[in-house]
């Protein structure tokens, strides 16, 4: 705010420079001060053209910003459909996972308790386990690569 050394003694003294703390000034401008305090700010403002000018600029910003017309959502079109889809999706995954798990256990039980020879069951089990191990290791490797990739945030 205004800071000056003041005239030498003997000359007429000007009124004291206004000292309005920025927080109080903002509360005054935004109508957040009680009437009594607002009156005090007005008194202080009357003594400082610098603060008056600053306040006038802030008020211009306020006027121009509140006049901004941004896009409103088109009437009748809401984001609800997409939000609803995202909220419902986990339930779909859970149901699909549980169903697939039950079917897998059932088929395993049917196969292992069937009359097929033991060597056939062991060979088939080895193939299935081998595929699962390979699949898991590829996923794990990709995950590690992704974690240490320094360019992962760069858009391609």
């Amino acid at each position: 705010m205004n800071v000056s050394a003041g005239p030498p003694p003997g000359l007429p003294q000007p009124e004291e420079p206004a000292e309005v703390p920025p927080e109080i000034l903002m509360r005054y401008m935004d109508g957040e001060l009680p009437p009594g305090e607002a009156a005090k700010v007005e008194e202080a403002l009357a003594r400082s053209t610098e603060v008056q000018r600053e306040l006038a600029v802030f008020r211009m910003f306020h006027r121009d910003l509140t006049e901004l017309r941004l896009h409103d959502p088109p009437p009748g079109r809401s984001a609800w459909d997409r939000i609803h889809g995202k909220l419902s999706r986990p339930m779909g995954w859970i149901l699909m996972g549980v169903g697939a798990g039950v079917w897998t256990i059932h088929l395993l039980w049917v196969y292992l308790s069937s009359a097929a020879p033991s060597w056939e069951k062991m060979a088939t089990s080895a193939v299935v386990i081998g595929v699962l191990v390979l699949f898991a290791s590829v996923i794990h490797e990709r995950y590690l690569e992704w974690q240490t990739d320094p360019y992962r945030d760069i858009e391609r």
């Binding site: 957040e32 600029v57 939000i83």
Partner: protein
């Protein structure tokens, strides 16, 4: 929205049924979109952030205090979502919010107002350019105050800071906007 109705809807949503969430989404969507637009600067990112915020809010309803209003709590989530978006480097604040609608709005103000409309639209475009240069922390408090028209108490709740800090941050934000506008050659006194 009536606070009692809102509370009932939140309680029902906590049971996991998203159908009761629809009235809440529709009630807070326009205000949320304006906040997200102010923070992100373009429609596409704003809509993404808004949707993600609604989904996160639904999943966090278990931690929500039902004795408090839903709005400020949701706007806090939305504000964090916008900040995360901006920091993830997937997007940055870019001014695409002003379009022909803005011009038409001013041009409709009366006969012979086309020139004035053009000037007002240009002034607003410059204002957004200034906002683009203002630090994120300052921009969000300006958006909440000037575009959303919220009171200090509400802003304090959303930003999770004391009211005194809101006032002081607003002062610095307005000063920063003034400096930014001077830097882009705007004609503010």
């Amino acid at each position: 929205m009536n606070p009692d109705v809102e509370r009932e809807l939140v309680k029902k949503c906590r049971g996991g049924d998203p159908r009761f969430y629809e009235p809440l989404v529709r009630a807070y969507e326009p205000q949320g979109l304006r906040l997200a637009l102010g923070m992100m600067g373009n429609m596409e990112d704003a809509q993404d952030a808004l949707q993600e915020a609604f989904v996160k809010a639904f999943r966090s309803l278990g931690r929500f205090d039902v004795t408090r209003p839903f709005g400020p709590w949701f706007f806090q989530i939305l504000r964090n979502q916008c900040r995360d978006h901006l920091r993830s480097r997937k997007s940055r604040f870019s001014v695409e919010v002003l379009d022909e609608d803005s011009f038409r709005h001013h041009a409709d103000e009366g006969p012979g107002s086309t020139q004035r409309a053009r000037e007002r639209t240009e002034a607003q475009r410059i204002l957004w350019k200034g906002l683009e240069r203002v630090p994120e922390e300052h921009r969000e408090v300006l958006v909440l105050k000037e575009l959303q028209g919220l009171r200090y108490q509400e802003i304090a709740g959303i930003l999770d800071i004391p009211e005194g800090t809101v006032a002081s941050r607003l002062y610095h934000a307005r000063r920063a906007l003034k400096d930014a506008l001077e830097a882009v050659g705007a004609d503010y006194p």
